[in-house]
């Protein structure tokens, strides 16, 4: 364990020897956490490392089985979040606790409303109070709009204002960036820095290492319920942190060898697709993908990527245009017909589109092949070959726990994705449609998925990769297409460009204005 020296008089939080046992898991195993006053303290760890449990204990949601908690030096025994709030602790949960039909003001003051005579809610005064704190901390929100009408980033600002309104000095943010776009994340970081300069202490939970490096002063790493490192951010690097998180060396960026692409396997011509509001989301798009090539689509979420992928997969009827696969135009065919032509698909929303939660793993691995030999004969399922296939995939793709009977919904996110990737690869595709393959996964699983996708590329599968993570697009793609409002702003090769250039194109500037030529 790496430990930095601390001055006990300057501690905002001092948790010592915290133990929390759940029925099957020791979630916190004698955890120590010391947070200095006025610092931004990042807690990193893979999913299930015990970060959220520790924070829920600090916020009074769980009672620890053992250990002590001191806040600003005073020993505390929290019975409920109310006790923690009284000690100046505020928590912004990963899933927001807001009332959508109420206004921003009403949400912020809920439970501590300013009152007029006869205990009538004083909306005007509440609005004034909300305006004051939002100006003080640069957290701009319109106090009179309803929560359901504002974007996620603004809802998060409301959550932060809620804790500040309740007088929080110590803010816990549980994976605050998971729901944000890169721009919103940057805005959040500005807010956090401002809060810090106002003397607030911030605990920031994440599993994204670049965020740790960008925002925190001090970082604690957790693995399997234990703290494996506690070091000043300036004295570490992502590589080292990843090692503490996973317990072994991790490749943060998979290496790939350049190779010549094979023949063209998919060609999209003048494709137009409407979104759910009947507006044109994909505007006259043309591109092609070759065998053994990964074509990455970079762009901010909501610029037509979802509609493009759904149109290719047959889940959404294109308005016009052609999609050539193996020499036939698949535009307008149904998903079954398209799959039979050798396309497999890892969709962006795995819970909604790729997984049937109440089905056991072996049934989930059958999806799409449930009427094909050897898994079905004369309409009857062949459970023996289905079980053999599922056991083979669980073993080969390291899906844990190694049971094919566990329900899909009871797997962790990373293992769900591994199961889906396993299934889609086992279909022997000639082209794979891969959307957001590592969203919400921890770095161990990300490394695994990336390696697997590159193996597929090296075995001559063509791949269209859609991702909001620039890092991912850069490290996997052979070519990058930048999409903005349904049109392609330019095509670049990752080794000939950088994040900045691609970022400009993602913001709507065509390649001709951005690329300065080879430098």
């Amino acid at each position: 364990m790496v430990e930095a020296p601390v001055n006990p008089n300057h501690l905002a939080i001092d948790m010592a020897g915290i133990v929390k046992q759940f029925p099957k898991v020791l979630a916190n195993d004698h955890v120590d956490l010391r947070v200095q006053k006025g610092e931004i303290h990042a807690i990193v760890g893979e999913n299930g490392a015990g970060k959220s449990t520790l924070m829920n204990i600090l916020y009074g949601l769980y009672k620890p089985d053992d250990g002590t908690i001191r806040v600003n030096g005073a020993l505390c025994d929290f019975q409920s979040p109310n006790d923690a709030i009284h000690k100046g602790i505020g928590m912004v949960h990963q899933h927001f606790m807001l009332v959508p039909p109420l206004t921003v003001t009403e949400n912020i003051v809920l439970g501590m409303e300013p009152l007029k005579k006869l205990k009538v809610f004083d909306f005007q005064k509440a609005k004034k109070l909300v305006k004051e704190i939002s100006q003080k901390y640069n957290l701009f929100v319109d106090p009179t709009v309803k929560i359901e009408d504002i974007p996620v980033g603004a809802q998060q600002r409301v959550e932060i204002l809620k804790t500040l309104y309740r007088g929080a000095d110590i803010l816990i943010l549980d994976e605050p960036t998971a729901v944000l776009t890169p721009q919103e994340t940057e805005k959040l970081f500005e807010v956090l820095r401002l809060l810090q300069s106002n003397g607030k202490t911030i605990i920031f939970i994440t599993h994204k290492l670049n965020e740790v490096m960008a925002i925190s002063n001090q970082v604690s790493v957790m693995r399997q319920g234990k703290v494996t490192a506690n070091i000043p951010t300036s004295q570490t690097n992502p590589r080292e942190l990843a090692k503490y998180m996973v317990g072994r060396e991790v490749l943060l960026r998979v290496s790939k060898k350049a190779r010549d692409p094979g023949k063209e396997v998919m060609k999209v011509e003048n494709l137009r697709v409407l979104d759910n509001r009947k507006l044109e989301a994909v505007k006259n798009l043309s591109f092609s993908v070759c065998a053994g090539e990964i074509v990455g689509i970079a762009g901010v979420a909501g610029n037509g990527q979802t509609e493009l992928v759904e149109a290719i997969a047959g889940l959404r009827k294109p308005q016009s245009g052609k999609i050539w696969l193996q020499g036939s135009d698949i535009a307008g065919l149904n998903p079954k017909e398209i799959r039979e032509l050798g396309l497999s698909h890892i969709p962006e929303d795995r819970l909604k589109h790729a997984l049937i939660k109440p089905f056991p793993v072996f049934y989930n691995m059958l999806l799409g092949r449930h009427d094909q030999s050897p898994f079905a004969k004369h309409g009857f399922l062949q459970h023996k070959s289905i079980h053999n296939m599922a056991n083979r995939l669980v073993e080969a793709f390291d899906v844990r726990p190694k049971s094919i009977d566990i329900l899909g919904g009871n797997l962790s996110g990373g293992n769900q994705q591994k199961a889906i990737v396993a299934r889609e690869i086992d279909m022997n595709p000639t082209i794979m449609l891969v959307a957001q393959p590592t969203r919400g996964l921890d770095i161990g699983a990300i490394e695994y998925i990336h390696k697997t996708l590159l193996e597929m590329r090296n075995s001559d599968v063509g791949m269209l990769l859609v991702s909001m993570e620039l890092e991912e697009v850069f490290s996997l793609s052979d070519r990058i297409l930048v999409i903005y409002e349904g049109t392609i702003m330019g095509e670049v090769r990752p080794e000939e460009t950088n994040f900045e250039e691609v970022g400009y194109m993602m913001a709507g500037n065509p390649a001709s204005e951005v690329l300065t030529g080879p430098s």
């Binding site: 099957k24 999913n47 997969a313 589109h353 049937i356 399922l381």
Partner: protein, 356 residues
Amino acid sequence: MNRRALSFIIPVMAVIIALVVASVIIILIGEGSFFERLGFLGRAYYELIRGAFGSSGAWINTFIRMTPLILTGLAVGFGFRAGVFNIGAEGQMAMGALAATVFAVNASFLPVFLAIPLSMLVGMLTGAVWAGIAGFLKAKTGAHEVITTIMLNWIAYNITNWAVTAPFSSGVGVPKSPEIATSTKLPALATAQANVLSVGLFVAISAALVIYVLLEKTSRGYEVKAVGFNPYSAEYGGISVSKNIILTMAISGALAGLAGTLESIGLYHRFYGTLSAGKGFDGISIALIGQNHPFGIIFASLLISGLRTGSNQMQFVGVPKHIVTIIQAVIIFLVAADRIVRTILRIRTSKGGSPV
């Protein structure tokens, strides 16, 4: 505790708790000292069980009631498995029975080995088409099947009542159709006084077996369940959601239609305006108690028909037969709100208390 064990234990516990609740009520309506009331309770349950299962006649009456309930239970349960809530078993049953009766009345020219299967086929097809209307509307327009099947129930109610009062009536008194041709009457298994148990019971049990195999052993069953659990993933996996919804409704309606057909060709030998008499709605309760499993549905049907048959006998010792309705209601309540039973048993399922 695994899921399979739980889906068995919950209904059993629900029955036990319901009997305890009913016991309290019986003790309260009894007279005399506490021990006299206990004796009263004992007599009531003794007569209930004797009335349901205590003699061959009792068994026959229970089985007669059970036959249509298995099929309407299967109709609703199969729909549930595929994510559709078919509240229209009542109407599908009536329409199936009417169509099968019309056929059977005019089928005297056919030999038995053709007349009976064809009558069943006509009843099942009619039920399938009647339910298929709701399936088609859901698949193509998104109209919710609860609304459409309830509306179709009323249409079926009025059509069948009009049929047996005007063009297809016979005799006077209760609206009824003419008697069916002898060749279409199901062979009898056993008789108790005026009541005849036909081989329809075996038809119903076979239907449960067929549905079990369909759901658990075939690609079609896989598709139906996938659409029921997650239509988006099903579509992604190449399964046609609208085709499966229409097909599910049609199969569900065919089962309900068969229930009505067996009542006509197996029991009454004609169509009555009151033939369905709520048995279609009973299917909802049966499916719930049977946890939508074909074999569970057979046992649930046996339980409910046993309670109803036995309740007549129980009346003779002075306990109103409505106590059985209370028992049934408590069972359904506890099965529907299964969390109550889980809490009582203090069962922690894998769903509870995620530690992360």
